[in-house]
């Protein structure tokens, strides 16, 4: 059924169609609309049986989900940014215990400086947590990925994080195709836990494991996650059979077949990139052989699939909304690992941090630079070089140089000036 609705609402309705049994909610922008919508569905009786629990923190949200999942309930929560970081201990724990929780992360920058706008710093900080991480390009995919996420999580007994760009997707009103309950029921079997807290068959879950077995436990977490590389395409195929559209899978490519330069990215920015590339491929614009590789499944990282796409190109540009401070790109690191030994030229472009707009104009400029191999290994899209140079100079000359964020804002004229 086609509906013109907000992304958060679309996700909420998709989650509801998956018949979650326990939902925990703690407000944080830009995720809040999702749990609000779910709460309404539960309270109104549309989603039943389901327990909707208003918890006191994200740490509790994930912990409640852990308990619920271990007791055999399909469990869901959503968070973003600081909230994700506040629950980190439990995020790792859910993965370590192998509990198939599905969580939406409405991607948002993490502070300080506090910032509510979109980038991927939050989700990518959890790339080693043991969760499967899926990134949605648009609201339709966000919706679809949630349905696939439950399937994947419960099959592998691993938690899955569905990441969608905060505000850009969560608050965007778009037309989406909402599946029917029958379709979802046909696709998503009833949750049969691999382990459960059951008085009829008592077990102890969460033992203390020492050096004698810890490596093996971690290896198994890795091996299990790697199984998702096979499952994801299969579930995407099944999804297409039931719902009639392509969604999910490990990666998506766009005009990559003949591309010498391939731009790699995750999430909603792929739309802008595709538009940019379409423009660049126009004969009047030089007819550049440039294509796109969108990564849907970031964890496990689809090394082979990425390598297969890149192997016939000359270079790649990873455009990512995250920064490994002191190193460079996060996604880029994985891409480089995927093409180890292939001898490709590769560039990292850090873009859109904290909600900085990524424009076609800027993208086109930096892609063209890349195609001329004029880029640094790590580049910052639309960085205000003047502002940072000023601050760096200030720090070199003044001991008490003051807080950086406030300095930059003042320099930009956003706050009242005060001299140092």
């Amino acid at each position: 059924m086609l509906k013109q609705i907000e992304g958060s609402r679309a996700v909420a309705e998709a989650v509801a169609l998956c018949r979650p049994e326990v939902i925990c909610a703690y407000p944080i922008s830009p995720q809040t609309h999702i749990v609000e919508a779910l709460g309404e569905l539960v309270k109104g009786g549309a989603l039943a049986p389901c327990e909707f629990i208003n918890v006191e923190s994200e740490f509790a949200a994930m912990s409640v989900a852990i308990g619920a999942s271990a007791a055999g309930a399909r469990s869901y929560t959503a968070t973003a940014s600081q909230g994700l970081l506040f629950m980190v201990e439990a995020v790792y724990n859910a993965a370590g215990l192998g509990l198939p929780i599905v969580m939406t992360v409405a991607n948002r920058a993490i502070g300080a400086p506090i910032n509510i706008w979109n980038d991927h710093s939050d989700a990518l900080s959890q790339r080693d947590s043991g969760w499967i991480q899926l990134f949605a390009e648009n609201n339709q995919e966000a919706l679809d990925l949630h349905i696939q996420a439950f399937r994947l999580a419960e099959e592998l007994s691993l938690p899955v994080m569905v990441c969608m760009d905060g505000f850009i997707l969560t608050h965007a009103v778009e037309r989406v195709d909402l599946p029917t309950q029958e379709q979802v029921d046909a696709y998503l079997p009833k949750y049969e836990p691999r382990q459960v807290l059951d008085p009829r068959e008592p077990v102890s879950i969460g033992a203390m494991v020492g050096p004698e077995a810890f490596m093996e436990v971690r290896y198994l977490a890795h091996a299990k996650q790697m199984q998702a590389l096979e499952r994801m395409p299969a579930y995407a195929a099944e999804f297409k059979a039931v719902f009639g559209r392509d969604s999910g899978g490990l990666i998506h490519t766009y005009r990559a077949e003949d591309a010498e330069t391939i731009v790699i990215a995750m999430g909603s920015v792929l739309g802008t990139i595709k538009d940019t590339i379409d423009e660049m491929r126009l004969p009047e614009n030089g007819g550049h052989r440039i294509g796109v590789l969108g990564i849907t499944c970031f964890r496990p990282f689809p090394h082979a699939a990425v390598a297969a796409v890149l192997k016939n190109s000359k270079r790649f540009i990873v455009l990512e909304k995250s920064l490994a401070v002191g190193s460079g790109g996060i996604v880029a690191t994985d891409v480089r690992m995927a093409v180890t030994g292939v001898g490709l030229q590769g560039y990292t472009v850090i873009a859109g941090l904290g909600g900085r707009a990524i424009t076609i104009k800027s993208l086109r400029g930096i892609f063209e630079q890349g195609m001329r191999d004029e880029l640094e290994r790590v580049n910052f899209l639309d960085l205000d070089r003047k502002a940072v140079d000023k601050q760096l100079a200030r720090e070199r000359t003044i001991r008490r140089s003051g807080p950086i964020a406030e300095n930059l804002l003042r320099d930009a004229g956003v706050v009242a000036a005060r001299n140092y």
């Binding site: 691999r194 382990q195 077990v203 969460g206 198994l220």
Partner: protein, 544 residues
């Protein structure tokens, strides 16, 4: 369930970890000697029979009791219960009323007609028992249990010895005495009345393999008191003995309206209280020392005082006249001995009864080789045997502590020694376990429960009749009293060790079977021993 590796585990699998290897001390169950048992002259296992009584199984209790003492109904009346004086419960509230429970069990046995189970064995040996007092009856009983034939020769027309001819009826009703003797006869003890043994070695010739002497001490000690011809001076033994023959009040000894009893023992009290019951307006005990020094038991003194008997402390009788006596005041010297003061007083008296102690008639022992007597007492070894092999003795004739209970104990001990002797062995008593002292217990666990006071006969009736002064407990009270027992040093299955073990290392074996330590898991923390109410667990260092 297909369980994730390592982080999810099968229930209870820690049983594979034998934590017993941590132990440096191990707990062990012990049976310590309860102070009541240690103090009982008859060697009763008091804690043992109370254990059954606590559960309401009175017959089992009575049988456990009569393993050692065949006369519980008598004991429950005349025993001075040193067990109660030793009872650890005094440290909490008051001693357990052991004696009253014993009496309840004895009376219950009479009421229900419980009999002793006949002995399974027959040694073919015959043992002569001289005297049917408590020592003789006890010896005969235990000999019979051990499979020997016991034949009692009793000089008096009725059996019982001093229990009949020395203890007033108001303390020991004769139907009770008769019932317990009859039960012994039914059990197989042969009693030949009016059969005086005047020469023990001759009597032994009559097909006996050994002899136990329990002739008692029936001869009153005399003191020289100048007395006029008309004065009436009697002895206590005779007075009490004559009471037994008196079927009607007017056949009782004529003591007069004002009776003076001279002496400070229980016999003096008995006589004074008897005199009161015979109608004396005044019964006065004259004793040369103070109340603290008086050999009579305090509770008997108290009962006598309640009944209106007066006592002249620190007084000796200097002379007896026709209707009065002269007494001299005494004073205690530095060493606590009474010394005359030269101060005299006359008090009216129709008769004077001397209660100055008794001697045994040892005429039957003349010319017994090896047998030694000293100050009127037959000398015996630890096995109650005299210097003459095969001749054993006990009771009043062999000891200074002259109580029914001591006599019963002598009889038992002698019977066991005789049994060994008849088998050509020497009796060796089993070693006694260490004492269950109060310090070894954890009294926290006993709930507060003061002693049940036995009903006491109304004072007017006490002064005029020979009805029993102390009543018995009813079943409810007896049960309550039994359950006041703290079971010192002996497991009473309170489940504490089982419950308080942090390692579940105590195995409960079920009712009556107590507990067992599971040393595979016991870490030796000792909480069980610390929290055992009765001190029946000890901690022992592990070897190596």
């Amino acid at each position: 369930m297909e369980k994730p590796f390592a982080i999810t585990l099968d229930p209870g699998s820690s049983l594979a970890n034998r934590t017993g290897s941590w132990r440096t001390f191990r707990p062990e169950y012990v049976d310590r000697l309860p102070p009541c048992n240690a103090a009982c002259p008859a060697g009763e296992n008091i804690q043992g029979w109370l254990f059954h009584a606590e559960g309401g199984d009175y017959e089992a209790a009575w049988r456990a009791l009569t393993d050692n003492n065949p006369l519980p109904a008598i004991m429950g009346r005349v025993c001075y219960h040193p067990c109660e004086s030793a009872c650890n419960r005094q440290n909490i509230d008051a001693a357990v009323g052991i004696n009253s429970v014993e009496r309840f069990l004895g009376d219950e046995a009479i009421k229900r007609g419980w009999k002793f189970h006949p002995s399974a064995q027959d040694s073919g040996k015959r043992v002569l028992v001289v005297g049917s007092g408590p020592a003789g009856l006890s010896a005969a009983y235990h000999l019979t249990r051990l499979g020997h034939r016991a034949v009692i020769h009793e000089a008096a027309p009725l059996a019982g010895g001093m229990m009949r001819y020395g203890i007033p009826k108001y303390r020991l009703p004769r139907d009770v005495l008769d019932a317990e003797i009859r039960r012994l006869v039914d059990f197989g003890v042969e009693i030949r009345l009016r059969t005086k043994v005047s020469n023990v070695l001759e009597a032994l010739q009559d097909g006996f393999d050994a002899v136990f002497l329990g002739v008692g001490a029936h001869i009153a000690k005399r003191a020289y008191i100048p007395a006029g011809d008309a004065s009436k001076v009697l002895d206590a033994v005779a007075v009490l003995h004559d009471m037994e023959g008196a079927q009607l009040p007017d056949m009782a000894p004529m003591l007069g309206r004002r009776v003076v009893v001279y002496g400070g023992g229980n016999t003096a009290i008995d006589v004074a209280r008897t005199a009161k019951r015979l109608g004396a307006e005044e019964a006065i005990i004259v004793y040369r020392r103070t109340r603290e020094k008086m050999p009579a038991h305090d509770f008997e003194v108290e009962e006598a005082l309640q009944e209106g008997i007066s006592i002249k402390w620190l007084s000796t009788i200097k002379e007896a006249g026709e209707d009065d006596i002269m007494i001299e005041k005494m004073a205690l010297d530095d060493k606590g001995f009474p010394q005359p003061t030269g101060e005299f007083e006359r008090i009216p008296a129709d008769s004077v009864v001397l209660a100055l102690g008794q001697d045994s008639d040892l005429g039957l022992l003349e010319n017994v080789p090896g047998l030694v007597t000293d100050k009127g007492l037959v000398q015996v070894d630890a096995a109650m045997m005299t210097g003459h092999p095969g001749v054993f003795a006990g009771g009043d004739m062999a000891g200074n502590e002259r109580t029914v209970t001591v006599a019963v104990g002598h009889g038992k001990k002698a019977a066991r020694a005789i049994d060994a002797y008849l088998r050509g062995k020497t009796y060796a008593p089993p070693p006694k376990p260490e004492l269950a002292t109060f310090e070894r217990m954890n009294p926290w666990y006993y709930s507060d429960a003061p002693k049940t006071v036995r009903p006491v006969l109304d004072i007017i009736r006490r002064q005029s009749t020979f009805e029993e002064v102390l009543g018995g407990l009813d079943e409810h009270n007896a049960l309550f009293e039994a359950r006041r027992c703290m079971s010192c040093g002996n497991c009473f299955e309170c489940d504490n060790c089982y419950g308080v073990c942090p390692d579940n290392a105590v195995i409960k074996l079920g009712p009556g079977r107590r507990f067992q330590f599971n040393y595979d898991y016991c870490k030796g923390c000792g909480v069980c021993a610390a929290e055992c109410p009765c001190g029946a667990i000890r901690m022992v260092p592990e070897e190596n």
